[in-house]
Structures are given as structure tokens and as C-alpha cells.
């Protein structure tokens, strides 16, 4: 019998090891978020007064598009290598395989956030606090669960690059709303940080459970 935890760890480690050796995704994503910040820097009139209200929006826009690329690659690479079938032909639990893929994609996006958050501070002078990091990390977990589920669904479809954002973005809105509010408050705007973080935790639990249940059906065929 296969151990689901060992399977999830093996899948995540395999994806991270492949990324470490090929360096296909993280450098490109890091470059993308820096470019997004450069464009925003020239596109908006940002000063110390309006930075706390504008910078979070730029942060979430960059994060959403970087996330779409990161989660889309999670299953697209398996499809291109024709390895998805070999993976699913094992007796390993589809939920464990999904958990491993989602964990690896989350860690890769966190790597990208490690570039994005300090760069945001550098460009717009907004504070880089523990509260900001915590809000972004919490939102990343739920966004990764949803993003990987839809990436798995569209992996075998021809127009997957088009379908993935269409399916994923509407369901990411709760994370962007709650995460946006938490980051705005952490950067100095008025509002309740704790309430926004509680919402993020609720959304994380809800979507991680739902996607785990759905993964069995999505990956089984």
C-alpha cells in the first residue's frame, strides 16, 4: 500500500527538484513581478500619502498573474512530458498527488513573493511588515489549492491557457478582497486587520477541503 503523506512529499520534492535544476519558472516569474512593479511605478502617481491604498492593488495584480502562470505550469509540464498518465497509473491516491503538486506550486509562488514584497517596499516605500507577509502567505495557500485544481482540470484541454484564468479568477476574488483589505490595513489604512485575516483563514479551510474532495474526481479520469 502507498502512504499518502509519502506520496505528497515525493511529488512536491520531485517538482521542486526539477525546478531547481531547470530554473524554468521562478526566475521568469521574479522578472515578471519586477517588470509589473516598474510599469506600475510609471503608470501611477504614487507618493507617501496614497501609497498604502494603491500599492496593495498593484501587489495583488502582480500576484494573481504570477499565480496563474505558476499553477498552470504545475500540470502543463506533466502533460508536455507525457508523464501525467504514468503518475495517475500508480495506485497512489489522487488526493495525495494533488496535495504534492499544490504544495510545490505554493512554495514556488512563495519564492516569487520573496522577490515581490521587498521590491514593493523599494518601489513604493510601503512597510514590509510581518502582517503583510502573513496576509500574502495565507491568501497564497487558498489560491494555490484552487489554481492547481483548475490547472489539473484543464491540463488535457487544448485551450487551457484561456480556460485557466476564466475558471480561476472568479473564485480568487474572495482572497483578493480579504487579502487586499488585510494588506491595506497593515500598510496604514483604516480597517480591521484581524477580521480580514479571519476571513482569509476561513476561505483557506473551505477551499482546501473542497479542492481535496474534488481532486479525486478530477484526477481519476
Amino acid at each position: 500500500m502507498t502512504n499518502s503523506f509519502a506520496v505528497a512529499v515525493a511529488v512536491a520534492r520531485k517538482d521542486l527538484r526539477a525546478e531547481w535544476r531547470t530554473r524554468e519558472l521562478v526566475p521568469a516569474l521574479a522578472q515578471f513581478v519586477i517588470l509589473a512593479l516598474v510599469i506600475a511605478n510609471f503608470g501611477f502617481q504614487i507618493d507617501s500619502r496614497n501609497a498604502p491604498s494603491i500599492a496593495p492593488g498593484i501587489l495583488w495584480l502582480a500576484l494573481v498573474f504570477a499565480g496563474l502562470v505558476a499553477f498552470g505550469r504545475a500540470f502543463a509540464a506533466e502533460r508536455e512530458q507525457a508523464s501525467l498518465e504514468a503518475l495517475l497509473m500508480t495506485p497512489a491516491s489522487p488526493v495525495a498527488i494533488f496535495a504534492g503538486k499544490a504544495t510545490a506550486a505554493t512554495l514556488l509562488l512563495i519564492g516569487c513573493e520573496a522577490v515581490l514584497l521587498p521590491a514593493l517596499t523599494l518601489f513604493f516605500g510601503t512597510p514590509l511588515s510581518v502582517q503583510v507577509i502573513a496576509a500574502v502567505l495565507l491568501a497564497t495557500i487558498g489560491m494555490a489549492a484552487l489554481g492547481c485544481l483548475f490547472a489539473a482540470m484543464v491540463a488535457r484541454v487544448r485551450a487551457r491557457e484561456l480556460l485557466l484564468p476564466l475558471l480561476t479568477l472568479p473564485l480568487w476574488i474572495p482572497f483578493i478582497v480579504a487579502g487586499g483589505q488585510a494588506v491595506q490595513v497593515a500598510m496604514g489604512a483604516s480597517g480591521s486587520y484581524d477580521q480580514a485575516m479571519a476571513l482569509l483563514v476561513d476561505f483557506d479551510i473551505l477551499f482546501v477541503v473542497l479542492t481535496s474532495l474534488a481532486a479525486r474526481f478530477v484526477l481519476d479520469d
Binding site: 500500500m1 502507498t2 502512504n3 509519502a6 506520496v7 515525493a10 511529488v11 520531485k14 527538484r17 526539477a18 535544476r21 531547470t22 512530458q81 507525457a82 508523464s83 501525467l84 498518465e85 504514468a86 503518475l87 495517475l88 497509473m89 500508480t90 495506485p91 497512489a92 498527488i97 481519476d220 479520469d221
Partner: protein, 214 residues
């Protein structure tokens, strides 16, 4: 005693029929070759027998289990070599097999044993993406037997293999029930006791060794 019994296997891709009412019974330890031109339905039949695809209609029983309902249980006992090797190019040959050892729930020491069996022991640390096509095929065959399956489903396993393809395949097929698609009638005659010939998705006959239906 039949280890695999298929009744009226039919598969449609949209409005195209890929497989039509194929009946099959394979005894334990028997080696059967599936022959036919390109597009005859060999890969579709093998994917269904390996539980990688569901037929549009028809029944399939493997080792006494309903293959359409008990797919995960059966996958512990089936080894499948698909048309494409489906390896991870950034991982070494050994890492590829060790990864699948974890997914199959077998000891990682099986990886080294299997590499030796398929003649890749000296290539263990080379990235799979840098191996020749023939070596990749050997690695894919090794992956299919990691968990010591009772039933082996091989889709053109001789593709890209060198002159010793028959010896390698004979070694991995011994003591197993095998269904193998191939274009090589001589190889089919050497390794299999029986052949099934498909044409336009239909079975046009079975034959025993040296009496291949053309």
C-alpha cells in the same frame, strides 16, 4: 484459467469508432501480441486493458475484479508501458525510478535492481532527458515492472530499442501475463504464444504462434 476477460469492448472518439466489440480472454502466464496497421485501435485497446481509459461500452474483468470499478486496486498489479516514455527529463534515471517506487509503495532499493535488469545501471545518475530514445524506452519499461506486476501491458515496447530488444523484453515478460502491441511480426512470434489482429477497430482474428493473420 483466464486472468483477463473482455466482452464487447467498444470505444468511440466523438463520431469515430476506435474499437468495436472486441472480445478477449487471456490465460495466466500467456503472452499475447496485438497486431494491426496504424490506426487499427491497438493503443486504444491497450489503454483500456491497462485501466488508463474507460471503454464507451463493454465489460472488462482482470484477475477477477471489475476493471471499470476497481481501477486503483488493479493498478497495483498492472504494469503499463505507454507509447511515449513519459519520464521526468530533469531527474536522473535512478531518481525517476525512486520517485515511482514511492508512488507504487515499494522499497526504493527496487530502483537499482530494475536499472540493472534493463541494462541502465551505468546510466543511473544521468538525467533522463539526456538519455537516448532507446535508453528512455528501457527506463519506461523498468518503471512498469518496479512493483512486480502480474499483468504487463506494453504498447510497442520494441520502439527505439536496439538489436537486443527481444532479449530484454523476454527477461521482463517472463513469469508474467503480457499483452503487447507491435508492428514486428517476427518479434511477436518469438515472444508471444498468441496474436490478435485488429483492423479498423475490429478483431479480424486470433492465431497461435507462426500462424499470424495478415
Amino acid at each position: 484459467m483466464s486472468i483477463l476477460v473482455a466482452n464487447g469492448l467498444t470505444h468511440w472518439f466523438g463520431s469515430e469508432v476506435a474499437l468495436e466489440s472486441v472480445d478477449l480472454a487471456i490465460d495466466a502466464g500467456e503472452h499475447m501480441a496485438v497486431l494491426g496497421e496504424n490506426g487499427a485501435g491497438k493503443t486504444t485497446l491497450l489503454r483500456i486493458l491497462a485501466t488508463a481509459a474507460r471503454p464507451t461500452s463493454g465489460g472488462l474483468e482482470i484477475m477477477g475484479l471489475d476493471a471499470l470499478r476497481e481501477r486503483r486496486r488493479l493498478r497495483q498489479r498492472i504494469g503499463y508501458v505507454a507509447h511515449a516514455p513519459g519520464l521526468y527529463p530533469a531527474l536522473s534515471a535512478a531518481e525517476n525510478l525512486e520517485f515511482f517506487c514511492t508512488l507504487q509503495g515499494v522499497s526504493r532499493t527496487r530502483a537499482a535492481e530494475t536499472l540493472a535488469l534493463v541494462g541502465l545501471a551505468s546510466e543511473a545518475s544521468r538525467p533522463a532527458g539526456l538519455l537516448s530514445r532507446g535508453m528512455q524506452q528501457r527506463l519506461a519499461i523498468g518503471r512498469a515492472i518496479l512493483h512486480d506486476p502480474k499483468l504487463l501491458v506494453l504498447d510497442e515496447p520494441d520502439a527505439s530499442l536496439g538489436s537486443d530488444a527481444a532479449d530484454l523484453l523476454a527477461a521482463v515478460m517472463s513469469d508474467r501475463t503480457v499483452v503487447m502491441a507491435t508492428h514486428d511480426h517476427a518479434l511477436a512470434n518469438r515472444l508471444c504464444q498468441r496474436t490478435l489482429t485488429l483492423r479498423h477497430g475490429r478483431s479480424v482474428g486470433t492465431a497461435t504462434r507462426l500462424h499470424v493473420v495478415r
